[in-house]
Amino acid sequence: MNAQAAASVALKPKDYKSDVHPTWCPGCGDFGVLSALYQAMAQLGLDLYKTVVVSGIGCSSRLPFFVKTYGFHGCHGRALPAALGIKVARPDLSVIVTGGDGDGFSIGAGHVPHVARKNIDITYVVMNNRIYGLTKGQVSPTSSLGFVATTTPFGSQEEPVDPVAFSIIYGATFVARGFSAERNHLADLIARGVRHKGFSIIDVVSPCPVFNKDDTYDYYKPLVKKIDATHDPSHKGRALELAMSTNTDGKVPIGVYYEVQAPTLGDRLEALKKAHKGSDTPDLDAVLDTFRV
């Protein structure tokens, strides 16, 4: 995403911090994601006023309030389409979407494939805690089979969804997984995602210590491993294989699973305008004349 020229004065991570104090619980994984985001923003030199952070509803979706840029905190599950509208209307803006596993892959599940396949140039950071945090602990679509939560006192009855595998199949052109405890690594992934021209998604393991006592930092630390340098992220089949391997060996690979270049929706729309001699001062009178008999 090269929407912006670098800001004139170099900003530090803390310059992206708003005055609003995060409302998250102590120990919440989302703190790590927020720090990584500040870091990535500084690394990218994003202009405070030309960046919009968009979210839905959830603990994680509160993130835009903690960032000093423009923000949009809309309805539960509708962050992606709102971001799509912002970016299509204003290609000059950098648009970053954040939110939870439920927001994205439960109520928002219908939007992900359609925004992904458009390859619109935005970056989507999913803070995946495998739980509904804000509503106080129900299964989320990424919760594992058998997971006990308030509405599943006898265990979840469904196989979890995998945001990484789904996104690859959906046509996202940059798909990665990060871990909120690996801040620098995550900052780097976010920065790469933002730089990537096209739809990038980063599924971030971000524990909720309050409502999910299974998928904690302690649980993840021994499982998380950086993706091997030999992995070829341009190969869709390999990327899928890697994503599906999580289910078998229990390890959680972090890093870039998949990355390819492809025309973005923005490219296509610009080409269309050009082909039709799009004008900001069009001759609408002539357009009306098409209604003459």
Binding site: Y49, F72, P81, A82, I86, A89, L269, L288, F291, R292
Partner: protein
């Protein structure tokens, strides 16, 4: 019988969808407009793609038209289904042109009806070798029978088919001629209808449907972002805009559903680009949550609902005005919003521009309730003078980064008018969070009693002076004082106009009010109108079961309207209103 000149003529063509009914009708419409007549059309499509009954009716006249009229003068039936559907309307004095002999039916003996069998199928299949010419044969016959200017017809046909090559043009013109010849040679005109134009039609005329008017005027209003999901009968708006938006550097997206469509339109408007979506009932139902977001975040937005017969999937190609409750009251919580309804194709044009202006001025969602009858009706209108159109842009923070008159920028500043300055991304010093949570002036979430109360009041204060400031003179017509008043909305307007004229010329003292603003209910205008109806007999005709506008009027004014509701999937015709008024006045 002596053939007299008719000042106006209503021709209905009915048959199976896909038989070319619509294009036959459109040729007559265009020819009529070209020869200086007023035209207003009325159509019915089947809900299925093939195999259902389709109908195209056109009313042509030397005088301006506001409705489809009561009944047709001439019915042209392509098949037995069309005959069955219209049999009860083939009253004494009407004309029946039908496919026969050799068609799929034999009409009964219809007393007093002028019958003209024209072997459309036989001529097209037999003589021309293709059933696809059937509609042109019928067209030729009709033109010959009722003096529809043949030259104009030939021109429009040539124009329409020119891209498909000389052969196609030839073939169609030949079919037209064969239909005309058949009438000339084989039939004897017995009916009194014959069209004559005095050439006093609309000057500088455009001919377009309500949907096209909405689409074209949206461009004129500055709309540069349109997102929608296909739905009958609103899709035509997208079809038109898809072709023209790229030319104005605008964008159209067909999205995965209506929720995504409205969400992205809100996003685009937040980002500073005027945005619209259009749908019909089921889509509007799905949009209600996001409508509340637009209300809460105070993001301008225009949502068009081309209403169809509900509830649920209902009758997707049929007319109804039953989404008013949804538009006015849909969505959880107290949502500020404006609901407008156009009464004619011309209204579709000018009122949608007003919708964009009000959205920007008040930073609210504006719902625009068109309806099936109006959306697909084509009508001639005088070409709008675009230079004369004023566009409103939103109150935004100044270049020095301050808000209202030197004060520091606060996105949700509590102001007297309720309207706050609104920044757009890219503006230095304008950063804020558009949030559906209750918030303070800076946009930070709040949960306090005082905070929520003040913000709720602020949001509704924006609409407190809407009627006075933006709809100071609601269009009123008729006697003053009157024995009975009619308040109508949407496309019912046109039939009321015509009914009023008839009633008044019959000596009744009646008046009518045509509000474009439906919600907030224009109480001042309605009270003022009712004051001039001492009997307090206020009739509200509308095409829904519950009497939705009547209920809103009851709730917001001292008027207790007499409901006049129909709900059969068809619009009012003037006669129904005339009869109802007479009935009420007799009581």
């Amino acid at each position: 019988m002596i053939v007299k000149e008719s000042k106006e003529l209503i021709i209905r063509i009915g048959g199976e969808g896909g038989e070319g009914i619509i294009s036959a009708g459109e040729f007559i419409t265009q020819a009529a407009v070209r020869s200086g007549l007023h035209v207003l059309t009325f159509k019915t499509f089947p809900a299925e793609i093939k195999g259902g009954y389709a109908m195209y009716q056109l009313r042509v006249s030397n005088d301006p038209l506001t409705s489809q009229g009561d009944n047709f003068d001439v019915m042209v039936a392509f098949n037995g289904e069309a005959y069955e559907m219209n049999k009860s309307l083939l009253r004494e004095g009407t004309v029946f042109v039908y496919d026969g002999p050799g068609g799929d039916f034999e009409p009964d003996n219809l007393p007093g009806v002028y019958m003209y069998p024209v072997p459309m199928t036989k001529i097209s299949k037999g003589d021309l070798g293709s059933i696809r010419a059937k509609n042109m044969v019928a067209l030729g016959a009709v033109a010959q029978l009722f003096s529809i200017p043949m030259e104009q017809l030939r021109e429009t046909i040539q124009h329409k088919f020119r891209k498909r090559g000389a052969d196609v043009v030839e073939m169609n013109l030949k079919a037209l001629d064969m239909g005309a010849f058949y009438v000339q040679n084989e039939l004897k005109k017995t009916d009194p209808y014959s069209l004559h134009t005095n050439g006093a039609g609309i000057e500088d005329v455009l001919i377009l449907s309500g949907n096209e008017a909405v689409a074209a005027a949206a461009l004129a209003a500055g709309c540069r972002y349109y997102a929608a999901y296909p739905i009958t009968p609103a899709t035509e708006i997208a079809n038109w805009l898809a072709r023209y938006l790229p030319k104005v550097n605008g964008v159209l997206l067909q999205e995965e559903d209506e929720i995504a469509s409205i969400a992205s339109a809100i996003g685009a408007s937040y980002a500073g680009v005027k945005a619209m979506t259009a749908t019909s009932g089921p889509g509007l139902s799905l949009m209600t949550e996001l409508l509340g977001l637009a209300g809460m975040t105070e993001i301008p937005l225009v949502v068009v609902d081309v209403q169809r017969a509900g509830p649920s999937t209902g009758m997707p190609t049929k007319h109804e005005q039953s989404d008013l409750f949804l538009a006015a009251h849909g969505g959880h919580g107290d949502i500020p919003r404006i609901v407008l309804a156009p009464g004619s194709v011309e209204d579709c044009f000018y009122l949608i521009i007003k919708a964009f202006n009000l959205a920007e001025k008040y930073q609210v969602p504006v719902l625009f309730l068109s309806d099936t009858s109006l959306g697909i009706r084509t009508q001639g209108i005088k070409k709008p003078n675009l230079k004369g159109i004023q566009l409103v842009n939103r109150l935004t923070l100044s270049e020095n980064g301050d808000g209202n008159g030197g004060k520091p920028f606060q996105r949700y500043e509590i102001t007297e008018s309720g309207v706050s300055p609104m920044s757009i991304p890219g503006q230095v010093g304008g950063a804020y969070i558009a949030t559906g949570l209750e918030h303070d002036e800076s946009s930070a979430p709040i949960y306090s009693q005082a905070g929520h109360s003040r913000m709720t009041e602020k949001r509704f204060r924006k609409l407190a002076r809407l009627e006075e400031d933006d709809f100071p003179s609601v269009s009123r017509e008729g006697d003053d004082p009157a024995d009975l008043g009619i308040i109508s909305w949407g496309s019912t307007h046109g039939s009321v106009q015509e009914a009023l004229a008839r009633l008044r010329s019959a000596g009744y003292k009646v008046a009518a009010l045509y509000p474009h603003l439906l919600f907030p209910v224009p109480a001042i205008a309605i009270e003022r109108f009712a004051e001039r109806v001492p009997s307090k007999r206020i009739l509200v005709p509308e095409v829904n079961y519950q009497g939705q506008f009547a209920d809103l009027i009851s709730a917001h004014t001292s008027v207790k309207p007499i409901k006049h509701t129909i709900y059969g999937g068809l619009p009012f015709n003037p006669e129904m209103i005339v009869n109802k008024v007479k009935e009420v006045l007799q009581k």
